[in-house]
Symmetry: C2
Subunit: 193 residues, 2 copies
């Protein structure tokens, strides 16, 4: 089934923002690449470009969050779950010709007004992902303090690895960093786990 206009606009916006950054995307690019007539912006998004940007960001965050939840739930332990999520992300990156990385990263580095809804959505996504890693680590027996700093490290290293992969046009940094981080987690798990 062909996606409807609203969905096409959201997907096109997500792709363009991830490719060119927050300030590198114009409304006419979005309309022409999604094949949407000009009038459809305010029909589908009464709040205009801001509302469309926010919808695109939330759609990207939901996709990443679902994939992370699946990886952590399917694995026997968080070391394997995290490595699997690095793999899934690396595949997405290669399949999109290194355009799709983290839906939040491109926006954070283009520094939207810190009080804006976009900035707050980015902060909330990082918080949610860190909490998911921390909860998985604690459920596997890692003490809360260590689980917190380890969770931030997993998130940071994935974000950085995606950036390097994009620069190198190669998934190797994501694979290599994924292995190291997985070993770091394995070392933090209680030996009886």
């Amino acid at each position: 089934m062909k996606p409807d206009t609203r969905t096409r606009m959201i997907e096109t916006t997500a792709r363009l923002v991830q490719t060119h950054g927050l300030h590198g995307v114009s409304l006419s690019d979005i309309l022409s690449e999604s094949g949407a007539p000009r009038g459809s912006l305010y029909f589908h998004f009464p709040g205009g470009k801001n509302e469309l940007m926010q919808a695109a960001l939330q759609s990207g965050i939901k996709e990443a969050t679902d994939a992370l939840r699946d990886c952590l739930a399917a694995a026997d332990n968080p070391a394997d779950g995290v490595q699997q999520f690095f793999r899934v992300t690396a595949r997405e990156l290669v399949e999109s010709d290194f355009a799709f990385g983290c839906p939040v990263a491109a926006i954070v580095l283009d520094r939207p007004d810190i009080e804006s809804e976009l900035a707050k959505t980015c902060q909330a996504a990082f918080d949610q992902w860190a909490r998911m890693y921390r909860d998985a680590l604690m459920a596997a027996g890692v003490p809360p303090g260590r689980a917190g700093s380890l969770a931030l490290t997993v998130l940071a290293s994935l974000e950085g690895a995606l950036m390097m992969a994009r620069s190198e046009q190669s998934a190797i940094p994501v694979d290599e960093v994924g292995k190291e981080v997985s070993e770091l987690i394995a070392g933090a798990l209680p030996s009886t786990a």
Copy 2:
């Protein structure tokens, strides 16, 4: 001594690109914020805006590279040197009100044409930094293969931590991740070192 016009233009461009991304900076912003007359662009940078962008990127890379070299050289071992570099970077971030992070990150995520000089300079900077970490690790006795993946992990985790710090407007992610990465390195060093 007041910096000369050329230096002011480079510094202003570096700050604006790090703050707003590659596509969020116009020539008139650069001229007005650096107080440079319009004619001075082609006088100081015959290649125009591209040459100015490239000069600003190289100046930021040189500053980061010098600071990293100092931290690694001053420390007894790479675990301490890396943690110190995380600290120096966190301080820079706070002092710049979370504008200055990595000079390369904002450009990579705005995805300049991959064949462009800017993109190549970004790739070369990541390569150089990874090599500096790897050499320091090998000099401390870490086997080459492990030193390579560990070096990528240090670089990735710093890049990611800077991004998270910017989003949270807090240096805590850089401090916490710096400690974890320092421990990861310490665990990879031969116990006799």
